[in-house]
Every structure is written in structure tokens, then in C-alpha cells.
């Protein structure tokens, strides 16, 4: 938490300090108020007071409240700005840091966890800071000041007050200590309830198909019932809180007066002045004692809330402190054009015990097509993800245009590449915005847009849309089908006019005809562009200049379709599983 607080901007720190000073003033006015109140009560009690005197004291009192309120409002303004500014800064830092992360770091934290850290955890922190800022500053000052005011007036009354403070604080601590762990349980149960219900929703067809409605309901009932029982224990316990605190506060006032009465009685009747002084002490005591108890209670609550914030702060720090492994190089120009070369490349995922890729070497020239085929889990995606540096090779070198990819400036490398991911990704925004997402060296004109859409075979459905390329895609592309998403994400890669195009199984959601048309178009229009294609279908890749057959991370065959049919058993097997011998001939 403290580490995180250090990240606060200078302006915020200044505001926090100012806020603390103002709180000091506020406490002063708040604590002077009871003095005037006692004066006023005394005046009203003694016959013969002038209205002007009363008005005078009244106005002073009003002045005190107004001053305190004004300070409180200014302070509220400052603390609101500080807390919001603080969360603003942290949120920005965190988001920018995550955006700079490589796939390795993203994988390590997992995307859902990063999302909660950027959203919920920061909200948590902000709540604590905004609430705590005033309370943390105010309650100790208040407590100390109030104690000073009553100190030395009467040890008996002080003892009674101290006893009440201890008892109430212990009680609050005890309730919080039993309830807070249960709050965490409730949180976990909520997650569980959410999960079971989500599973039911996503699998609704399977649930119906298996007539498993009752099964699901029973499954849901378990966490739901647990939740009820935990919450019952909690809320019943909490039901004690307010009443006990009320008894404590009221009881303290009563005890002070009662004990006060007894103590006054012990003073000799002759010492009238002493009796009167002690009486006024009792009145003052009763007021300030309440302040003391209240501020201690606030302190206890803050200390109980702090651990929750601490957890969030740690989770945020974990991300901020994570170094990004992928470092930018300095080369801004390649030595060749349109070439990709792997030199004895091996790759192992961090924490993995075995190589995902071992000793892969190949080179393709400008305008050539390289295809990669292999069984599920053979390392195809991993291989091509080394080119845009989603990961860096563990051993060996990956060269683009004759230069190791690690040495390129990011912008230079990414201007050379057009990469289409396996899972098509679209963002909220118009089709145009999606196609021209990010920056590239290529121009962004209507014509370029049209070309990209045409070439990716997306115009077939884009043209049917009433607003064409201005059509709005909803978040994560939820309003377009899988095949349409895939074609639009291909358009995006094409619009960059790259030297090298990489397709990671990007035609899987397209039917054969569209697939064929797309490849035909690429060949005609982009003859100079180097293409790397990962695919499952033999028909997609059989005409490639070079085919690499991957099996458990090793290249077990390399060559053209005809060569591989002769000398690569794995390839032959894959091919024959899809097409008959006659068709392959």
C-alpha cells in the first residue's frame, strides 16, 4: 500500500497535506463548539441572562459550525480530488504497463486477472483512500485533542471513559474479526454462484439435450445455500453492532453523570466553588468522552478495512513491478526484403519442462508461400508467434529481412508484418476503424479500405449492410459471425500493406469456396508478398512453395506437396485422412 502511495503525483501529495492542515482546523472548531454549548446551557439555566448575550454566544457557535463546515467542504473537495487523482494515476500506469507487456507476462497473470486488477482492485483502493484520507487524519487528531481537553479533570471519570473505550473497541474488533473472514467467503461463494450460473447459460443447449435441468438446479443450490448460511451468521452478528454501540455511548454519558453526582456529593457542602467547578467538568466530560469513543471506533474500523486494501495494493504492485521481457531493439531498416529465416530455433515456454519447438531451421524468399501443418498441439502457432515477438526464441535466431527480430525497433518490425491471429479479434467501432486499427506505413484512404475488404472476401456481407463500412461492430465483435470476424481481421492485416503476411489457421471458419477465392485473390494481387500460412486443410496448402510438417515441436518434413507425399509419412497420413488417393494424384 505504501509502495503504491509513493506513486502519487506531487499535486495529490500537496492536496493531501493541505487537507490534513484543514482537518486540524476543523477539529479545532468541532471541539470548541461544545464549550459554547455549555456556555449557552449555563446562561439559559441562570435567570436574568440577556437575549443579546445569548445571541452573541449563538452567533459564535454558528460561526464555529460554519467555519467547520466550510473547512469540511474544502477538505472534502481536496480529498475527493486526491483520491480520484490517485486512482487515475495508478490506473493509467497499470494500463500502460500492461499494454507494453509481452504475451509471456500476460499469460502468467492471465487476462481475466489483469482485468480485475485494473478495474476492481483500483476501485477498492480508491474507496479506501477517499474514505480513509479524512478518517485517518481526523480520528487520531480528534482523539488526542479530546483526551487533552478532559485530561486531569477527574481521574475517576477518566477511568470510566477509558474502560468504555476499551470495552467498545474490543467488541468492535471482535465482531469485525469474526465477520471479515466470512466476507471473503461470501465473495468466493458469489464467484462460485456466478460460475455455475454462467456455465448453465453457456451450455444451455447441452443442459436441455441431456435433460439436466434438475442436475444444474441442484448444483446451483449448493453454493447458494452456503451463501445464505454464511450471510445469516454474519448479518445476525452485525445486528449486535449498532445496539451495543448505542448502549455504550449512551451508557457512558449516563455513567459520567451518575458517577459525577456521587463525586460532587462527596465534596463538602461548604466548598461551593469546588462543587460548581466539578459540575461543569462533568458536563464537559460527558461531551468530550463521546468524541473520544467515536474517534477510537473509527480508528478500529479503518484498521480492519486496511487489510482488504492491502490485498488489492499488492495485486497491483505485482503487475507494476513485473519487468517486460521483450526489449525493443534499435535497427530501423532490414538488409533484405520479404524474407523470413529461422536458424536452429528452439523454444520453451517459461516454467515448462520440455521444448515446445526444437531446432527449427528454414528460409523463405520474397513472394514465396510457406505452409505449416501438423496435429493439434504440435507447435504451429508457437512457431509463427516468434516472428512478431509475442515470444522470443529460447535458442537460435529468427530473422526478418536478414536482421534478427530482437534488434528491430518495434515499429519497423510491425510495419513489415501483417499477422492474423487464430482467434479473430475485433474491437468496438466501425468496420473502417477496425480495418485501419493502429498505425502503419500504408495510406488510409477509402480506396485502400475497399481493396482490403474486397481481397479478404468481406465485401460480400459488408456491401449488404445499410451503412457499409461505417457499420458499428459491438464490443469484441459480438454482432458478427465467426466467419465474418475472421474476414475482417484479415482485412486489417491486408490494409497494412505488409511485406510478409502471416495467417494462423485464419481460414478455418470459412467454407471451402470462400477459402479458395481468398487464396486466389492473394496470389493474384499480392504476388510480391511473402505468405506464411498455418492450416489444417491440405487443400489450403497443397500449392505452397514450401511446406513444413510439425510433429511434437519438430520439423519432420519440409518440401513441396509432391515431395512430402513421397518422403514424409506424417504428411501422407494427414493428406490421406482428408482426400482420397485419386484426388491427391
Amino acid at each position: 500500500m505504501i509502495k503504491l502511495l509513493k506513486k502519487m503525483g506531487k499535486r495529490e501529495v500537496l492536496m493531501a497535506v493541505l487537507c490534513a492542515l484543514l482537518v486540524l482546523g476543523q477539529v479545532y472548531f468541532d471541539l470548541t463548539l461544545p464549550d459554547y454549548m455549555t456556555d449557552l446551557t449555563m446562561m439559559l439555566n441562570t435567570a436574568g441572562s440577556e437575549t443579546s448575550d445569548i445571541l452573541n454566544v449563538g452567533l459564535k457557535m454558528l460561526g464555529c459550525t460554519l467555519a467547520s463546515a466550510a473547512l469540511a467542504i474544502v477538505c472534502g473537495y481536496l480529498s475527493a480530488k486526491t483520491a480520484s487523482g490517485f486512482s487515475y494515476t495508478i490506473r493509467e500506469k497499470l494500463f500502460n504497463h500492461v499494454m507494453d507487456m509481452g504475451s509471456e507476462e500476460m499469460q502468467d497473470f492471465s487476462i481475466p486477472s489483469l482485468i480485475t486488477r485494473t478495474t476492481n482492485d483500483i476501485t477498492q483502493i480508491q474507496m479506501i483512500v477517499s474514505m480513509g484520507l479524512q478518517m485517518i487524519i481526523k480520528s487520531p487528531i480528534m482523539a488526542v485533542w479530546a483526551v487533552i481537553k478532559i485530561l486531569g479533570k477527574s481521574w475517576e471519570l477518566s477511568a470510566v471513559t477509558a474502560a468504555f473505550v476499551v470495552v467498545i473497541c474490543v467488541f468492535v474488533l471482535a465482531v469485525m474479526a469474526t465477520c471479515i473472514p466470512r466476507f471473503r467467503i461470501v465473495q468466493k461463494l458469489t464467484d462460485k454462484i456466478n460460475r455455475v450460473a454462467r456455465e448453465n447459460l453457456t451450455g444451455i443447449n447441452v443442459v436441455h439435450a441431456f435433460n439436466a435441468e434438475k442436475y444444474q438446479n441442484d448444483k446451483f443450490d449448493v453454493p447458494s445455500k452456503d451463501m445464505m448460511n454464511t450471510q445469516l451468521k454474519n448479518q445476525r452478528m452485525f445486528a449486535l453492532m449498532m445496539p451495543v454501540m448505542n448502549i455504550g455511548m449512551n451508557g457512558l454519558t449516563l455513567a459520567i453523570y451518575w458517577l459525577g453526582a456521587v463525586l460532587i456529593q462527596q465534596i463538602a457542602l461548604t466548598a461551593v466553588q469546588d462543587r460548581i467547578t466539578f459540575f461543569s467538568n462533568v458536563v464537559v466530560f460527558s461531551t468530550y468522552a463521546t468524541y473520544v469513543v467515536m474517534s477510537f471506533m473509527m480508528l478500529v474500523m479503518i484498521f480492519m478495512m486496511l487489510p482488504a486494501a492491502q490485498v488489492s495494493a499488492e495485486r497491483i504492485n505485482e503487475v507494476l513491478e513485473r519487468d517486460v521481457n521483450i526489449k525493443e531493439g534499435s535497427v530501423s531498416e532490414g538488409r533484405e526484403q520479404g524474407t523470413v529465416e529461422f536458424k536452429n530455433v528452439s523454444f520453451r515456454y517459461p516454467h515448462a519442462s520440455e521444448d515446445e519447438l526444437s531446432n527449427i531451421s528454414f528460409k523463405i524468399e520474397k513472394g514465396q508461400t510457406l505452409a505449416i501443418i501438423g496435429a493439434t498441439g504440435s507447435g504451429k502457432t508457437t512457431l509463427i508467434s516468434l516472428i512478431p515477438r509475442f515470444y522470443d526464441a529460447t535458442e537460435g535466431e529468427v530473422l526478418v529481412d536478414g536482421v534478427n527480430v530482437k534488434n528491430y525497433k518495434f515499429d519497423t518490425l510491425y510495419d513489415k508484418l501483417g499477422y492474423v491471429t487464430q482467434k479473430a479479434v475485433l474491437f468496438a467501432g466501425s468496420i473502417r476503424e477496425n480495418v485501419f486499427f493502429g498505425e502503419s506505413a500504408a495510406p488510409e484512404s477509402d480506396e485502400e479500405l475497399k481493396n482490403a475488404i474486397e481481397l479478404s472476401q468481406a465485401e460480400e456481407f459488408v456491401d449488404k449492410l445499410p451503412d457499409g463500412t461505417e457499420h458499428m461492430i459491438s464490443q469484441m465483435g459480438r454482432n458478427v459471425s465467426g466467419g465474418q470476424k475472421q474476414r475482417l481481421s484479415i482485412s486489417r492485416a491486408l490494409s497494412r500493406k505488409p511485406e510478409i503476411l502471416v495467417f494462423d489457421d485464419s481460414f478455418s471458419a470459412l467454407d471451402y469456396k470462400t477459402d479458395a477465392k481468398l487464396r486466389e485473390g492473394l496470389n493474384e494481387k499480392l504476388g510480391d508478398t511473402t505468405k506464411i500460412i498455418v492450416a489444417q486443410r491440405i487443400s489450403t496448402i497443397r500449392h505452397a512453395d514450401k511446406i513444413i510438417v510439425l510433429d511434437r515441436g519438430e520439423a519432420v518434413g519440409m518440401g513441396t506437396h509432391e515431395e512430402l507425399m513421397k518422403n514424409c509419412d506424417v504428411y501422407k497420413e494427414i493428406a490421406l485422412s482428408q482426400l482420397s488417393a485419386a484426388e491427391l494424384a
Binding site: T65, S84, G85, V196, V206, P243, D411, Y414, F427, Q536
Partner: protein
């Protein structure tokens, strides 16, 4: 994050009516709780008065000696009042917590049950997140609203009315003055609250937008990187963050102003009472003691107003939640089928489609299936092929009665499926869907899903047939390994697991909707063989992009734009040289 729309007065009343109906059995005990809340509040009004009495006793006795017995009498009485008032509050909160938590549990059960009872079209108009948030957020908002706000409003109102009566009984002029000042203040507070409401909505909305953007960009981070989009994205995020910042501090600032303002108003009323009171007292109109009691009443009088205002806002939010909960609970359900026989008849497997026509209920103009007719004989393997959007998946969904057809009929062994219960129809088919569905649980639970009497031997056998045996045995706990996000399973393995599940089900007929699309072709071949064993003698429906999967089908139905345009087996269709042949040959077009 979802924004809460505040409901209007009328909606609030109707929501309340529904809640009362829903809690029918516990209305009595809730009434008791509310009476206790009011009683507890009224008792607190007596408190200050008695403290005043003790002060008076001491003050009076300063010169002559304090009547300690009288002090003790008042002290014991006061203690008794404090204890009983606290006891009332405790009992009231205990009752409310118990009743509302039990109600929440019942609501959650009803909501979860409802998921499986609404027609599919409901999910077209309501997102998953929306339904989930009703089950968790809305239920808990309503519960909190009912346990906290309802008694608060009642007790605050009781305190307010009690004070008001006491004030007017004691001295009507002073009562009027304090009432006037308090209402002036109240007006100010309501004004600020209505202003801050806008910023609260702003905050929820801007935060929701920001969270959505974060989710989107994190999920697509590879695309952002490769498109050199990071700078633009950061800039856009900065804008969203700025909006959150602005809405944040404004709403927080405004809501923070409430407390100090309440203090000021209380004190103004206090001073006014003192000043006017002393004027009246000097005139001899009232006694000084009256002013003292009034000072205490003013304190007790101003605080409940804030509580009522706060409570009402909370109740509005709660009733908006209630509205959303009942909206779902009361939505239309699938037709009741208790009159239909749920017995599974002896299934031969003749399936006939006659002029089936279908469009989704919410878009009746867009006809998905125009005029689908086909005759399937028992034991045939039927393949449905065609371009994306031709209506292939819709056809099998109609066969499973996930949707109801508009006209025409689908019959199994001569009985229209509309005359069978959905349960019966589902029992006739094993189904593997395009979207693999696994849940967090052990491998065994995922496979045996809702089936009884599955032995370990049959589990082993099926897994072997699907080529899953090796995978399962490499898992740390075998069949008892819990599948969660941390266990890495590839898309292909997921699909194999769902296929194994369907194989275990062993129903008379089979539906495979793109069941092997994520599996590599060699594994597919393996499954194919296992499937062929399974489908032997069983009618099966297969949808596949890979035409190699369905070449050996007995009947291939070629669909396009909701109609069957060609049918026959592979050889006859190829010989015909139509759409199918074109589709098939496009695999070998000269292209690289």
C-alpha cells in the same frame, strides 16, 4: 458495471407489492420487526429528557446536597430504556436479516431454475452478463435495501413524528421555527442530492465504459501490438480515464458535502431556538426549562430527515433491482408439457421433415428455413452441408425442439415431435455441439454429466475410442483431475471430451454439429471409426465443413439460404455437377 436506473414512484409501489406477495409467509414477522424499529426509536426520544433530569437534579443540589436516590432512580430507569431500545433494535435487525436472506436464497433458486425454463429467444434479447447480474448483484442490492433501509425509514419516521408531537405539545411557536429551518435545509439537501445523482450515474457509466475497454484491449493485446495500436489505445484509454476521474471526484465531493451541511442546519435550528426561546422566556411567555428540552428535540428532529432521504434513495435502487428480478422470474416460460407422455418409445429412427418453415420469433420477416423437406430412413447417416448461414445448425436445433417450427412438421417414426415432450425428444438423441462446453469439475463429472450407472470400464472404453486415454492418464489425478482454467487443455481435447460425453449417453440417434472442427484430421479419423461403430444402425445427422468427414454418408442434404437444393449420396451429387460438386472441387482449385 451496470447502471441502476431509478424507478419512478409507481414502479416502486408495484415492486413493493410484488415483494410483499413474494414474502407472503413472513409478512407478519416483518411487521413485528418494523413495529420494534419504531418502538426503539420512540424510546430514544425519552433518553435526552431524562439526562436533562439528572443534570437538573445535580444543579439543584449543588448548594443543598444532591438527592442521590433520585439520581439513582432516574439512572436505573434510563438504563432500562437504553437496554430495551437496543434490544428492540437487535431483535428487529435479526429478524430482518433472517427473513431477507432466506428470501434471497429463494430468489436465487427461482432465478437459476428459470434459466432452464425460458425459451431460447429470451437469450437473444438478454445478454449473459445481464442475467448473471440479476442473480448476484440485484438480489444482494434488494436484500441490503430491505434489511437496512426499510427499518431505517420506519424508525427515522417514528422518531421524526414523535419529536414533532413532543415539540408542538411543549411549545408551538418554537416548534414552527425549528420546523421551518429544518425544511429549508432539507430542501437544500434534496437539491444537492438530485444534482449528485447525475454524477453518480455518470460515474457508473464512465467506469463501465472504461472496464469494457480494458477487457477488450487486454483480450486483443496481440492484435494491438502487431497493429502498432498501443499509442492510440493508450490515448483513448487516457480519455476514458479522464472521464472517470471527473465523474468520480464530483460525485464524491457532492456526497461528502451532506454531513457538514446537516451539521450546519442542525446548529442553525439550535441557535434559533435558543435566541427566540430566550426572547420568549424574558417576556415570561415560557419557562427556561422548555428551551432546554427543545434543544434536545431539535437534535433528534434533524437527524432522521437525512436518514429518511438516504433511505428513500436506497429503496429506489432496491426496487429497481426488484423490478429486474421479477422481470426475469415472471417472463414467459416454455409451454407446459405435463400432459405429454415422457416415456421413451421404442425408437426405430425414421425421421421425416415436411415443408418445415422457421424464422426467429423476434425477427419474423427474416425466414431462416423456407421449405425444408426430407425423408430419413432408420439407420442412415445424413450429412447436412452448405455455406455459412444456410441454416444447418438451425435445422438440428429444430429437430431437438430448442426452437419450435412455424409451419410444417418433423416426425420421428411417424409421430410429430410436437406431440412428444421435449424431454422425450432429448432422450432420443446424443448430441455434440460446435461450441464445446465443459464446466469446472473433474473429468469424470464432465463426462458422466447427469447420467446414471456409468461404470469405470465404460469410461475407459469410450475414452480409448476417442483417443483420450493417453490424455487422461497424463493428468495428475486421472479421471478425478479438476478441469479449471489452470489446466491446459487444447481446443481439440475439449472437443474430444464432449464427443466422449455424447458416446456415453448412447442414445438411439445421433447429432454431430461440427463436432470435429478443432481436431486434427488424423485424430478425426480415429474418432470417425469409433463413431462409425457407434452410429452403426443408428440414424445420425452430421454437419461438417470438412467434406472428407461426410463423404461416406448415406444421404447428403445440400442447403443454401434455408432450402435443400440438392440431395443424394456423394457419387450421385458429384455426377450431377451441381452446387455440391462445385463446393467439393473448390478444395482442389489451383491456388496456393
Amino acid at each position: 458495471m451496470r447502471k441502476y436506473e431509478k424507478s419512478s414512484k409507481g414502479e416502486m409501489a408495484s415492486a413493493m407489492k410484488k415483494i410483499i406477495e413474494y414474502m407472503k409467509g413472513s409478512v407478519g414477522i416483518v411487521a413485528v420487526a418494523l413495529v420494534l424499529a419504531a418502538l426503539g426509536a420512540v424510546l430514544t426520544i425519552i433518553g435526552p429528557d431524562k439526562v436533562g433530569e439528572i443534570t437538573d437534579l445535580i444543579a439543584d443540589g449543588l448548594m443543598t446536597g444532591i438527592d442521590l436516590k433520585a439520581v439513582a432512580r432516574v439512572g436505573i430507569f434510563l438504563g432500562a430504556i437504553y437496554i430495551s431500545s437496543s434490544l428492540f433494535t437487535f431483535i428487529q435487525q435479526y429478524i430482518m436479516a433472517t427473513v431477507t436472506l432466506k428470501m434471497s436464497y429463494r430468489m436465487r433458486s427461482d432465478l437459476s431454475r428459470k434459466i432452464n425454463c425460458v425459451p431460447q429467444k429470451y437469450f437473444n434479447s438478454h445478454s449473459q452478463g445481464d442475467i448473471l447480474s440479476r442473480i448476484t448483484n440485484d438480489v444482494s442490492t434488494l436484500q441490503q435495501g430491505l434489511t437496512n433501509s426499510l427499518p431505517t425509514i420506519i424508525s427515522a419516521a417514528a422518531q421524526f413524528v414523535g419529536c414533532l408531537i413532543m415539540m408542538f405539545v411543549t411549545e408551538w411557536r418554537l416548534a414552527l421555527i425549528s420546523l421551518f429551518i429544518t425544511f429549508l435545509g432539507l430542501f437544500l439537501i434534496v437539491f444537492i442530492m438530485s444534482k449528485s445523482q447525475k454524477f453518480f450515474l455518470d460515474r457508473q457509466e464512465s467506469l463501465g465504459k472504461l472496464n469494457g475497454y480494458v477487457e477488450e484491449m487486454y483480450s486483443g493485446h496481440e492484435v494491438v501490438r502487431i497493429s502498432r495500436g498501443a499509442d492510440n489505445v493508450k490515448e483513448h484509454f487516457g480519455g476514458l480515464n479522464e472521464a472517470v476521474y471527473n465523474a468520480n471526484w464530483k460525485s464524491q465531493f457532492l456526497s461528502g458535502m451532506m454531513q457538514p451541511l446537516m451539521n450546519v442546519i442542525g446548529n442553525i435550528a439550535y441557535v434559533a431556538v435558543c435566541v427566540f426561546g430566550s426572547v420568549l422566556a424574558l417576556n415570561g411567555t415560557i419557562k427556561f426549562g422548555v428551551i432546554i428540552s427543545f434543544i434536545l428535540y431539535v437534535r433528534l428532529f434533524t437527524s432522521p430527515l437525512g436518514q429518511i432521504a438516504q433511505g428513500m434513495t436506497n429503496m429506489q435502487t432496491a426496487s429497481a433491482s426488484a423490478q429486474r428480478i421479477f422481470d426475469f422470474i415472471e417472463s414467459e416460460e416454455l409451454s407446459d408439457e405435463s400432459d405429454k407422455s415422457s416415456e421413451v418409445p421404442e425408437v426405430k429412427g425414421n425421421v421425416s421433415f415436411e415443408n418445415v418453415r422457421f424464422s426467429y420469433p423476434d425477427t419474423p420477416d427474416k425466414v431462416i428455413i423456407k421449405n425444408f423437406s426430407a425423408e430419413v430412413k432408420a439407420g442412415q447417416k445424413v450429412a447436412i452441408v452448405g455455406p455459412t448461414g444456410a441454416g444447418k445448425t438451425t435445422m438440428v436445433n429444430l429437430l431437438m425442439r430448442f426452437f419450435e417450427i412455424n409451419s410444417g412438421s418433423i416426425s420421428i417414426d411417424g409421430t410429430p415431435i410436437s406431440q412428444l415432450s421435449r424431454e422425450t425428444v432429448h432422450n432420443m438423441f446424443s448430441m455434440v455441439l460446435q461450441d464445446t462446453w465443459l464446466f469446472e469439475g473433474t473429468v469424470r463429472e464432465n463426462l458422466v454429466y447427469n447420467m446414471e450407472g456409468i461404470s469405470d470400464e465404460s469410461l475407459e472404453r469410450v475414452c480409448k475410442a476417442c483417443g483420450l486415454d493417453k490424455f487422461v492418464h497424463t493428468l495428475p489425478e486421472g479421471f478425478d483431475t479438476v478441469l479449471s482454467e489452470s489446466v491446459a487443455i487444447s481446443a481439440g481435447q475439449k472437443q474430444l471430451l464432449t464427443i466422449a460425453r455424447a458416446m456415453l449417453q448412447n442414445a438411439p440417434m445421433l447429432i454431430l454439429d461440427e463436432a470435429t472442427s478443432s481436431v486434427d484430421t488424423r485424430t478425426e479419423l480415429l474418432i470417425q471409426r469409433a463413431m462409425d461403430k457407434l452410429t452403426k444402425g443408428r440414424t445420425s445427422f452430421v454437419i461438417a465443413h470438412r467434406l472428407s468427414t461426410i463423404k461416406n454418408a448415406d444421404l447428403i442434404l445440400v442447403m443454401r439460404d434455408g432450402d435443400v437444393i440438392e440431395s443424394g449420396n456423394h457419387e450421385t451429387l458429384m455426377a450431377k455437377g451441381g452446387f455440391y460438386a462445385e463446393l467439393y472441387n473448390s478444395q482442389f482449385d489451383q491456388a496456393s
